[in-house]
């Protein structure tokens, strides 16, 4: 089943401004892990906001599990599609971790006991169960963002979209988030859409989608996409150095696997020598 489906979606922010997204067709299968890549202004964040009805398309339709988004269906769709945003400080409502995680569950009117269970589930899912009564402001960036994911998980969504949620984190925080969403996808069966401009994060995805000027310009297995280094550059996406080395080695005839991980590459080279 298609979790999210865009059909000929066109969108612009204001009447006389240029179109951010034009006639976009895009879909995500249930259970899939999709990475959406693109540099600033490629329309990838707009994609996230169109997926849960925060923005409404000017033309075309967005369907969530087969239901077309409209004012009437929006509320239900938001229970199914959770969106985690970029800045962790701007998406926490409460000061204490458990109060913040509870916010979404409270909004949909769940009974108390159920909210308690949801908090347990959500905090465990992001590995923050020991921080239930902690103050959000004192956590690290990666931990704050994990709390934001937990806040979304408390609604038990079937899809989680991360809208550049790693952009403001340090490398360690970024790894934490990627680990958490990979586990959610593999163990909980949650569909994940990871919007990012860090190419190495896309490596674990089932499918990578490259956006440019509101259009999908490349699509396929992450490893295949990364081989097309020259093409990526035309969309202002630079491959990390390890990927470049990897590609040159392959071009020179060395049978190394495509990777963006220095250690994996070292092992690959060791195998060849």
């Amino acid at each position: 089943m298609k979790a999210i489906e865009f059909e000929n979606v066109t969108f612009r922010y204001e009447e006389d401004s240029p179109f951010v997204i034009q006639k976009l067709n895009f879909s995500v299968e249930e259970g899939e892990f999709v990475a959406v890549l693109g540099h600033n202004g490629s329309g990838k964040s707009t994609l996230a906001r169109l997926s849960n009805g925060l923005l409404v398309p000017d033309a075309g339709a967005v369907r969530v599990f087969g239901v077309t988004l409209s004012d009437e269906t929006m509320f239900e769709a938001r229970k199914n599609v959770g969106v985690v945003f970029q800045n962790p400080d701007n998406q926490t409502v409460a000061t204490i971790v458990e109060d913040d995680v509870a916010f979404g569950a409270e909004n949909v009117g769940l009974p108390r006991e159920e909210i308690g269970k949801r908090i347990d589930f959500a905090l465990r899912a992001v590995g923050m169960q020991d921080y239930r009564n902690a103050t959000v402001a004192r956590l690290s960036g990666g931990q704050k963002q994990r709390i934001a994911i937990a806040g979304v998980l408390a609604l038990k969504p079937r899809v989680v979209i991360l809208d550049e949620s790693t952009a403001m984190l340090d490398p360690r925080g970024r790894r934490e988030i990627v680990d958490v969403v990979t586990r959610l996808n593999k163990e909980e069966g949650i569909t994940v859409v990871l919007i990012t401009h860090f190419m190495e994060e896309a490596l674990l995805a089932d499918r990578a989608v490259v956006m440019n000027r509101g259009e999908i310009v490349m699509q396929g297995k992450p490893a295949e996409i990364f081989e097309r280094q020259e093409e990526l550059l035309t969309y202002n996406l630079a491959l990390p150095r390890i990927g470049v080395i990897c590609n040159s080695l392959r071009a020179a005839g060395m049978p190394v696997e495509n990777t963006l991980d220095a250690e994996v590459l070292a092992e690959e080279i060791a195998k060849c020598v």
Binding site: R49, V83, N87, D89, N90, T92, T95, A102, G109, L155
Partner: protein, 270 residues
């Protein structure tokens, strides 16, 4: 700026932390009334004694408590100085024209300073021991009667809790902008008062813009988590009035009665 500790919760588990926020709010009001009713040092001593007890029971380090006073030191010193210089007393120590330092003036300003300090410590104890969520739940609950006249009590409570939650974020932001402007050669320390206020403009404008941007993002994040502002919303934390609250209530009632009795039977001024 960093010393502004208002609205910062101190997370430990204590008797005071566990009290019902509604009771704590009412207790604070009663306490403030008691401070203002107290007309001599005996009354204030009783108030201070109660406060020492609360601090001890709240397991809050004394340094934290004193930091709350630090924020208003200027105000305390300023009012004390004015009172010392302009109070008309009988026992004069020194005199220059209309300005005189008298025994009564010294006593009176000490009295006022103590009153102000107690007021600040007590209010900050409330935010140290009560999470903003509990606090706003308390306010919401106490204001429930206003729902009868269709006052949006819930929205008000939410606005309050978000405002409290963003205080530390905006303080950090102010520091950051200030440093950025300093790095560009901005001068905040020299010049007269007017000049210094003008120097604040390049801080306030970006701060305001960023606050609006944050508000918009927060609104999106709240909507994404199914917030609609409807009445169907449930509450995870229920407020419950327990035995602790009864004790605290009795202490509060005894305090007010004590101070009132002292006002009547110990009329010695200061």
């Amino acid at each position: 700026m960093k010393d502004v500790s208002f609205g910062q919760y101190y997370p430990v588990d204590s008797f005071v932390h566990r009290l019902d926020p509604r009771l704590k709010l009412l207790f604070l009001i009663a306490y403030i009334v008691a401070i203002f009713l107290a007309s001599n040092f005996y009354g204030l001593a009783v108030c201070a004694g109660v406060l020492v007890f609360i601090v001890a029971f709240a397991r809050i380090p004394i340094g934290k408590v004193l930091r709350a006073v630090k924020g208003v030191v200027f105000l305390v010193v300023f009012t004390a100085a004015l009172n010392i210089l302009f109070y008309n007393g009988e026992t004069v120590y020194a005199e220059w024209g209309i300005i005189s330092i008298t025994k009564e003036g010294l006593i009176f300003s000490a009295f006022l300073a103590l009153r102000l300090a107690l007021l600040v410590v007590c209010s900050s104890l409330l935010t140290y021991t009560t999470t903003p969520v509990a606090l706003t739940d308390g306010v919401e609950s106490l204001l429930t009667p206003l729902k009868w006249i269709r006052f949006p009590v819930h929205a008000l409570a939410l606005v309050m809790s978000i405002a409290l939650r963003f205080i530390p974020v905006l303080i950090d932001e102010t520091e950051r902008i200030k440093n950025a402007q300093k790095a560009r050669g901005a001068d905040f320390e020299s010049g007269n008062l007017f000049k210094r206020i003008r120097a604040m403009v390049p801080i306030l404008v970006p701060l305001l813009l960023s606050a609006f941007r944050r508000a918009e993002e927060l609104g999106d994040a709240m909507e994404a988590r199914c917030y609609t502002g409807s009445n169907q919303r449930t509450k995870y934390k229920k407020l419950r009035f327990g035995w602790r609250d009864l004790i605290a209530f009795l202490v509060g009632a005894a305090l007010i009665t004590g101070v009132v009795l002292m006002k009547i039977y110990l009329p010695a001024p200061y």
